[in-house]
Amino acid sequence: MSILIRQGRVVDPANGVDETRDLLVENGAVAKSSPEIKAGAETVIEAAGKIVMPGLIDMHVHLREPGREDKETVETGTLAALCGGVTTVLAMPNTEPAMDSIENVRRLFEIIQKTARCRVLVCGAMTLGRKGEQPVEAHLLERAGVVALSDDGTSVDSAEVMREVLSRAKESGLLAVCHCEDRLLSGRGVMSLGYMSTRLGLRGIPREAEFKRVERDIELAQMTGCPVHIAHVSCRESVDIIRRAKKKKFTVTAETAPHYFSLTDAALADFDTNFKVNPPLREVDDAAAICDGLKDQTIDCIASDHAPHTENEKEIEFDRAEFGVIGLETQLAAAITQLVETGTLSWPELVAKLCVNPARILGCGRGQLGVGAPADITIVDPAASWQVTKQDFASKSRNSAFLGRTLKGRVTHTIFDGKVAFARYSPSQKQ
């Protein structure tokens, strides 16, 4: 199987490339990359005017299987990933049962083997049953194939337990992905505490609930020498704390999600539960601080925090609705719209956030398009404007924070493992 991608703008910052090129894919890998390739191929993709970039690596995805197949499955979630140009996902362990034992992890790998449409990396739980009490056997999980540990969805409240978790993760060479939330402070809050929560009469979550825990987890990372990755950074204080820690050369990395730089709590004015996320949407200053953090390398990655929920769990009273939004299919367009179109990030900088840095943090040897690299490639029409509608999603769920919005930039092809795994044709091209 060979694919020739002609005359696209190849954005491959890991190899210092940002120019119009031809790219030849053979046998699952990039075979040639040069301004003009005079070879034939079984498939030719005309990519003039398009961006050709490495497949996205999404470090924060809830595939919900096993346990909540009504929300999403490995198959539908990875299909949604391909539609969004994502070729590698890190699956979060808050499934039912949680990924806290080798048996559970092995069973998940069997499902992945059978049904996954893109690459799925597995994140193990930090503690048994994600209860925050008893650390998992990190070395066994590592041998079963997990690449990171996280109790995502909740934070390990006890500093003592967390220290033990980090120490075991360090010994096993696993990354610790930290969901930073002090539940004693966030309590039963459903949105960010501030003027909007005052207006709407909804219970607020103080920002301290996030950044005090970011602070603690970074301190514990220093104590144990374990690299920590701060998940879904949402507030300006967290950005400052991570920036200071990086200046001191601490082993910390961080991600944010598109809704934290695209939206604010003002979106909640109509009690639309598609804006109910955890951590909550913050204020204008926070979104600006997130953008600054992305620009100055404080925040390494953009990840979707794809969190599918059924309509029954979302189309209800705000207080009772689940936290979380889907994001696999909109994150690239949201990032282009909010970061590239505004001049916050250049194309190579954006590709670093979505591909290069996650690959580096996960040590998965992808995120680049040099000759010999695995052919995970995403082709984007940067000029295409499209409206996000409920009917469009490949995901099983519809709980998107971007519904009704017009976004710029659409994935036209996703090549996974050297094969065209997803192609979108505009009506004029169909014929």
């Binding site: 003027y195 005052t198 009690f271 189309e315 705000f318």
Partner: protein, 321 residues
Amino acid sequence: MKTKSAWTRKDLLDLESLTREELELVLATADSFKEVIGRTVKKVPTLRGKTIVNLFYEPSTRTRISFEVAAKRLSADVINIATEASSVRKGETLIDTGRNIEALKVDIVVVRHNCSGAAAILARHLRASVINAGDGWHEHPTQALLDMFTLKEKLGRLEGIRVSIVGDIAHSRVARSNIWGLTKMGAAVTVCAPPLLVPPAIERTGVRVTHSIDEALAGADAINVLRMQFERDTGDAFPQQLEYFKTYGITRERLEKAKKDILVMHPGPINRGIEMASDVADGPNSVILEQVTNGIAVRMAVLFLVAQANEYIHNKSEPKK
């Protein structure tokens, strides 16, 4: 009633989104209905043939009866649903309950719910008009409208008057609706509560904040005293009852330092001896019972206006002269 209506809203969900003109229209309409309820035959045929459902997810006597009386004075048919006795107990969702009620060809749903935003969610899914009779801590628009009606009746105007709202502002839908309504009408509003019961950035709504009850009383034309909802499990820090009365309770001695004819208001039910002394509640400054009477006129106005607007919205497609 032949008002030349500037009211185009199918629902009344909050006062925050209303314009000053809309607020004035409700108050003017309520004025005409107040005349009706003073007659010996207290009934007009305005909503004859309309069906109104009172859907109450929280216990309420005052508001529900007020809506029921208002609907009956307008000749509408009224059905009361209390959730203890309904399929909600069996796990039916708010939207399903709403749709089922609508399938019964109901014209207006009056909803009281313990979750903020519940009325808005219901309104998005129903063709029937939805009136918010109190949603969580969010808003209680008809209560604020009747408070404003009472103030205007007593003081002759709302523009430039000084109103202090005292009590648990953080958890009060009455406070929020009053703040929006009064500030839009040009009144100067002060809120007074212990620090933890003042929600963050409340001053951005245009109110002054004080933690001193004497300061709240000084120069005020009216004081609206909120009920301390000690029975509510809010999970937040609440002051001791006695301590609250000592620091924030409205007593005769405190009132003596205020304007002589200061109006004392309360949305009820009163906790005597906690937020207000008995002799104040029953004293010459109290307009608490007049508020209750005015509530009927205001709710008649709201029922009338949304019914009229809904009819117009749904007949719009048909050709008209």
